[in-house]
């Protein structure tokens, strides 16, 4: 993949380079040819002009060409050197340097290329026409030499550039290889690996940084999952250990009736706690998979709160805690059993954290379009450091206390899910030593405007 990218880049580079070199060479060769031709033309024209003036006409009407003048001695026969021919304007041949030259050669005064020769025809003295020509072979061979030189130089340049290009592309791609190696080496056991950014060039540095951030997020998610699994296993193992130890102790030898009873009571408690954890885990598993069907029907929150408060009345009075319910009838569109679970979690929590003689207040109000339920207690409150985490699964603010109450640390996480799946939210305000206040806000259902809406069901995804 990388190799092919390198080759591809280099192939494109070579193609462009060859095109540029070829264009340049073609232009240069054309220029050389043109300038050679111009020089030749100038020489031929000069010679032709000399020749034109070297023609004499005697009294007998005979033309004479005097080749003794300067610049005219060079005419040779049968060679590549310049040749000449002189005609009368009537087309009669006067003189020629080569017997092969015949009348067909003649034309009007001009400069032309003909049969591999360059020829200049000019009008001479006494109405004669003068042709001076020269083979283009010399010019051609000069040109070929130039082409050859260009080709050689171009070839060398191409090889050097490609070599350099190969090296540079390789160097530029090396960080990609490193990134690839790092990604390849990452596994569950060493999620901490990161791409070395200091050694990476700018653009790739950006890529590496983005990748590293993605790795960070992955690692975090993975660690969260691992922690969750460890917490879940811890919450299940603890009551299981109790169950097994208690049963083993009971069975070790015959026990008194009272001992059996108390053992079974302890086992029951442990089993109930395990049930709580398992049910919580199941709720989350199904919520995460989006497999929980939420009923939607008008629910009077005030009724639910009163129901929950009276249901928890005996636990509260056992602990010497008073539950106060105040507020207005308030309708929401929701799942009554889930909403009851939410309220029950909050109120039970408040009761368990309240000292004897404390008060738990459940207040319902309707500020604006939302409907607000506040559950406050007179307990020890929540530490500022715990506050951002208390809605996390299995998070325990104060282990000793919540262990006492038998909770697994899932209640608030479930409450948050219920509030959010109803389009609302939940928050906690607390200061150490001054109690805690949990506030749930849910969209209110305007019963009078909507009439009694039918029961609908809806799938919700956990946050």
């Amino acid at each position: 993949m990388l190799r092919s990218l390198r080759s591809k880049l280099l192939a494109w580079y070579a193609l462009v380079l060859v095109a540029v070199l070829a264009t340049f060479a073609a232009l240069a060769v054309w220029t050389v040819w043109q300038s050679g031709l111009r020089d030749l033309d100038a020489r031929l024209t000069a010679t032709a002009s000399l020749l034109a003036r070297a023609i004499t006409l005697d009294s007998a009407g005979q033309y004479e060409v005097n080749l003794t003048g300067p610049g005219l001695a060079a005419f040779t026969v049968g060679d590549d050197g310049p040749y000449y021919a002189v005609w009368t304007s009537a087309g009669k041949l006067i003189d020629r340097s080569d017997p092969d030259i015949d009348a067909t050669t003649l034309g009007a005064p001009q400069i032309r290329s003909r049969r591999g020769n360059r020829e200049v025809i000019v009008a001479g003295d006494h109405g004669a026409l003068v042709l001076v020509g020269s083979s283009l072979a010399q010019l051609r061979s000069d040109l070929w030499r130039t082409v050859l030189r260009f080709a050689m130089a171009g070839g060398v340049a191409l090889v050097l550039s490609l070599g350099g290009g190969w090296f540079l592309v390789g160097r530029a791609l090396a960080p990609i290889a490193r990134i690839g190696e790092t990604a390849e080496a990452m596994s569950v056991s060493n999620l901490g690996l990161r791409v070395d950014i200091t050694r990476t060039e700018d653009e790739l540095g950006t890529v590496a940084t983005s990748l590293n951030r993605a790795f960070d997020r992955l690692q975090e998610a993975f660690e969260r999952q691992t922690r969750f699994t460890a917490d879940a296993s811890h919450e299940l193992r603890t009551p299981l250990a109790l169950l097994m130890a208690e049963i083993e102790w009971t069975l070790a030898r015959p026990r008194a009736n009272g001992e059996y009873r108390s053992s079974l009571g302890i086992c029951m408690k442990a089993a109930q706690r395990m049930r709580g954890v398992v049910e919580g885990l199941l709720t989350f598993a199904r919520a995460d998979a989006g497999a929980i069907e939420l009923r939607r029907e008008p629910v009077n929150l005030a009724h639910l709160v009163e129901e929950v408060a009276s249901g928890l009345g005996s636990i509260a009075s056992e602990r010497g805690v008073i539950i106060c319910v105040e507020g207005v009838p308030a309708l929401v569109n929701g799942d009554p059993s889930r909403l009851r679970e939410l309220i029950s979690n909050l109120v039970l929590n408040a009761v368990q954290y309240s000292p004897s003689g404390g008060t738990v207040t459940c207040a319902i109000s309707t500020p604006g379009p939302a409907l607000r339920l506040e559950v406050s207690d007179t307990g020890p409150g929540v530490d500022a450091q715990d506050l951002p985490h208390i809605f996390e699964r299995f998070y325990r603010a104060n282990k000793a206390r919540s262990r006492d109450s038998g909770g697994a640390g899932l209640g608030l996480a479930i409450s948050k899910w219920i509030a959010e799946s109803h389009g609302g939210h939940i928050r906690c305000d607390s200061r150490k030593g001054q109690g805690a206040r949990f506030t749930v806000e849910l969209p209110a259902l305007d019963a009078i405007a909507n009439g009694a809406s039918g029961v609908t069901e809806e799938r919700v995804q956990a946050s």
Binding site: H234, T238, A245
Partner: protein
């Protein structure tokens, strides 16, 4: 033998307490790390059974701190945390053994006995003192092959002296290791147990160092 159980789960702590007590251990319970540190400072426990996830000071830190103070009590970590990292961390902090929840009581007791033997420098499960043999796993004592019936406290006293044979065991050491904070002990009870052990196993076995304590000669 005196054991400190550090466990924040009250029901499990209670079960461990009654189990260990039935096996002849004197048991103290601490519900959090701070209490555990305080208790371990006050008493030289023969074994500390330690949960890791405990309030205030966690179990790893408890081991680290008691080892830093030079406490040599064997520490058995009993926890629901079962990853290799947790085990390595606990053992490297100074713990001696690691058992994950859920566990069987038999295994827990066997491990505690092994830790006590190793700490006393006599890893063999049977201690021979002349014609007397003490089988620590079954808490059985024989004299010339015949089984001798000892009361739990008598056995505890004999085992403690036997594990420390050749060394002087003071009365206060005896009280510390064969009673727990629930026993209403009276200082002269040690003499009562010593004399009844002597009556059952022979008078030459335990030597009295007057006014100081007792010794079983090596």
């Amino acid at each position: 033998m005196r054991v400190l159980v550090v466990e924040d789960e009250p029901d499990l702590a209670a079960t461990l307490r009654k189990t260990l007590a039935e096996s002849g251990f004197s048991v103290d319970v601490a519900a959090d790390g701070e209490e555990a540190l305080w208790q371990a400072e006050a008493i030289a426990y023969d074994v500390i059974v330690l949960d890791l996830m405990i309030p205030i000071v966690d179990g790893w830190e408890v081991v680290r701190r008691i080892r830093a103070r030079g406490n040599r009590s064997p520490v058995l970590v009993l926890t629901a945390r079962d990853t290799t990292t947790d085990k390595v961390r606990a053992l490297d902090s100074g713990a001696d053994d690691y058992l994950t929840k859920p566990f069987t009581l038999d295994e827990l007791l066997a491990r505690i006995r092994a830790l006590i033997r190793r700490a006393a420098g006599s890893p063999a499960p049977v201690i021979r003192l002349g014609e007397v043999e003490i089988e620590t796993s079954a808490r059985r004592v024989t004299r010339s092959g015949a089984e001798v019936d000892l009361a739990p406290k008598e056995y505890a006293l004999l085992e403690f002296l036997a594990l420390h044979r050749g060394a002087l065991v003071t009365r206060s050491m005896l009280y510390e290791h064969i009673y727990d904070d629930r026993d209403d002990s009276m200082s002269n009870l040690a003499e009562v147990y010593v004399s009844s052990v002597r009556r059952k196993l022979g008078h030459g076995l335990i030597r009295t160092c007057r006014g100081v304590g007792y010794i079983i000669d090596a």
